[in-house]
Symmetry: C2
């Protein structure tokens, strides 16, 4: 399924633009680099919904005041293996990197670090933070809550976020990297179907009465207006296919994020000009279980045996988690990062507003024209 016309730019081009834009937003060079790395890593991994196209959305959050540029994450409770961090409504990426670094520091010293964050914002891809721990020879875990979009089994109203969980563990030739919403799909998938005017597949969404529907536009409008309905948990809407399991896993994300930090649960986020999103992070040092190289080799062997397993008829390949991302990174580094031209229209509009020259980054490229999103004086 296509998302519209795409144009490719190099990592360096997009990085230069993001760095200048985030600094124009008021972030230090260091913080701009952190946020940019989280964004562009999503694009490198092929998770376009969480990459460049979020730049403009983030700027809107900053303008509205739900994302505070000068917020600093604060440790409000701490032990040698744990911490609770108050994000003070700062950027999710800055809170996320701060909290995962804290978890890693604790895991280096104590073997394990678990950090729960409240009062934050959208933090990009969960997997970014899990990967940080894997680079230190640790199991990395990251989860977040989000605006409620998942309807619990037998409910008619969204009460839980897409609540992704990411796990990353060192392995050869690819880390085990598993990053997935606990809802059957994300809101972004519905937005894609809506843009294209296509019917949703069965088993994804519920109408305002909690009944299955294929109408993406109606579901998105209902979520936005809090009229009920939303996205099904992984496992659908009935217990026969395991709806209660996706719902339960969504709750596990809630535990590590909003419950341990005593922050806002998904159903209370995004109210009265405050996001209040919460995150959870865990780093488990492999040295706490023996020889990290031996553990890594053991996992790598198992992953290889999975890839080598007999294929279903009609299938030529079994993927292990992280393999697709590795292929995306290779492609993006060689051929550039694809960006939807509509996103580029937004980017050029934002550049104009911020008094940045887009041609400095993108040469003579011109995106389709559209009405301005940003008006008035910067």
């Amino acid at each position: 399924m296509s998302q519209g016309k795409k144009v490719r730019f190099s990592y360096e081009q997009l990085n230069a633009l993001c760095m200048d834009a985030f600094q124009k937003f008021g972030f230090s060079e260091h913080d701009a680099a952190t946020i940019t790395d989280v964004l562009l890593t999503a694009d490198l991994y092929g998770i376009q919904s969480h990459g460049m196209q979020r730049l403009v959305r983030y700027y809107k959050g900053i303008q509205k005041g739900t994302m505070k540029v000068d917020a600093k994450p604060e440790i409000v409770f701490e032990t040698p293996v744990s911490a609770v961090v108050d994000g003070h409504d700062g950027m999710g990426q800055l809170n996320g990197v701060f909290a995962m670094n804290l978890a890693i520091k604790k895991a280096k010293k104590s073997g394990v670090g678990i950090v729960s964050v409240r009062n934050s914002n959208h933090y990009g891809i969960a997997g970014y933070y899990a990967k940080m721990a894997a680079r230190q020879n640790m199991i990395g875990f990251s989860s977040t809550n989000s605006e409620a979009i998942m309807v619990p089994t037998y409910a008619s109203k969204a009460m839980i976020g897409s609540n992704p969980q990411a796990w990353c563990v060192p392995a050869d030739p690819y880390d085990f990297f598993f990053d997935a919403a606990t809802s059957v799909v994300t809101r972004g998938k519905l937005e894609m179907y809506n843009k294209l005017g296509e019917k949703l597949p069965d088993g994804w969404a519920l109408d305002a009465e909690g009944q299955p529907t294929n109408d993406a536009g109606a579901v998105l409008a209902n979520i936005a207006a809090h009229r009920g309905g939303g996205i099904m948990p992984l496992g659908g809407s009935t217990e026969q296919l395991g709806s209660h399991k996706g719902y339960g896993n969504g709750m596990v994300s809630e535990l590590f994020s909003s419950i341990l930090s005593q922050g806002l649960t998904s159903n209370e986020t995004m109210k009265a000009g405050k996001s209040g999103i919460c995150h959870g992070f865990m780093a488990i040092n492999l040295v706490a279980f023996g020889d990290p190289a031996a553990i890594k080799a053991h996992l790598s062997n198992y992953l290889q045996s999975l890839r080598d397993a007999p294929k279903a008829s009609g299938q030529s390949r079994i993927y292990t988690h992280g393999e697709k991302e590795a292929a995306f990174v290779k492609d993006r580094k060689e051929n550039g990062i694809p960006v939807i031209d509509k996103t580029m229209t937004e980017v050029y509009d934002l550049c104009d507003y911020l008094h940045l020259d887009p041609h400095k980054y993108f040469g003579d490229y011109e995106p389709p024209k559209a009405g301005k999103m940003f008006t008035g004086n910067y």
Copy 2:
């Protein structure tokens, strides 16, 4: 769906029988009590597949030598927050209780305890161990691998077990208690359909070519003969409904059980007279994140708001995880534990073989007659 005729006995009746039987098998009174409590807790929670009906199966495992009565779990690697335990082919329940107690002890002192166990056997319900930690004001997590029955996305061969994960967290009026296979259903569900000669629902099982099938008998026979096929991950067999997510979660169970302990992965278990099943346990002390009472109250409020959410049309109730189990416990304590009469036939046969008088436990109850399973001298 019925599983055949059931008869109810009190907890005390079944407990007395199990205690005598396990001691006849050679276990000490203490160990017999531990194994019995895990078994009968499954029955109290309404998870009949993991309760009394396993008694005879366990005895067969002991007879075959895959379960060693005199094995003692051994800590082979340890830090203040972690351990690797070698179960030396002992009973899964004894290894599980030992390992979770060790995790809890570490979490009391250090805030977190993670224990990975190798060379064990079927350990009953994952939730039993998670609940142990919740009773100590901790988040409890327990997972296990098992004989491979889950077919990875786009494979045609089972490579991963049913690999359940259980989480338990203190809450009022019911703990959050979430215990579920990462496969869409367990093998036990297929066995039920097979016994009744009913067609499997769509979205559960795959044939030897990795194609969807509704034939329970053929799937079970294929698994037993290692001819390929098996059960789908939660999310089905295609990425559209999230097959890769159930598959990924199954791998997370593998991480905590077989990978960290460097034990046998699911695809290598149950070979050459050895089970080799591995488990993982985690206890996270709520005091490491602030006031446990406040965290518990925060979770309890959220769970209440979920139960109070608007219902889907046609539904009268939204359950939170642990609520059904609490209702089962109340019913079983008031009205007794239901046992399938076929299981009672097996139990009477086993009693006869062990020179135990079944009427000592079950009064004048007589189960249906059948051919003897156990012959020769005890």
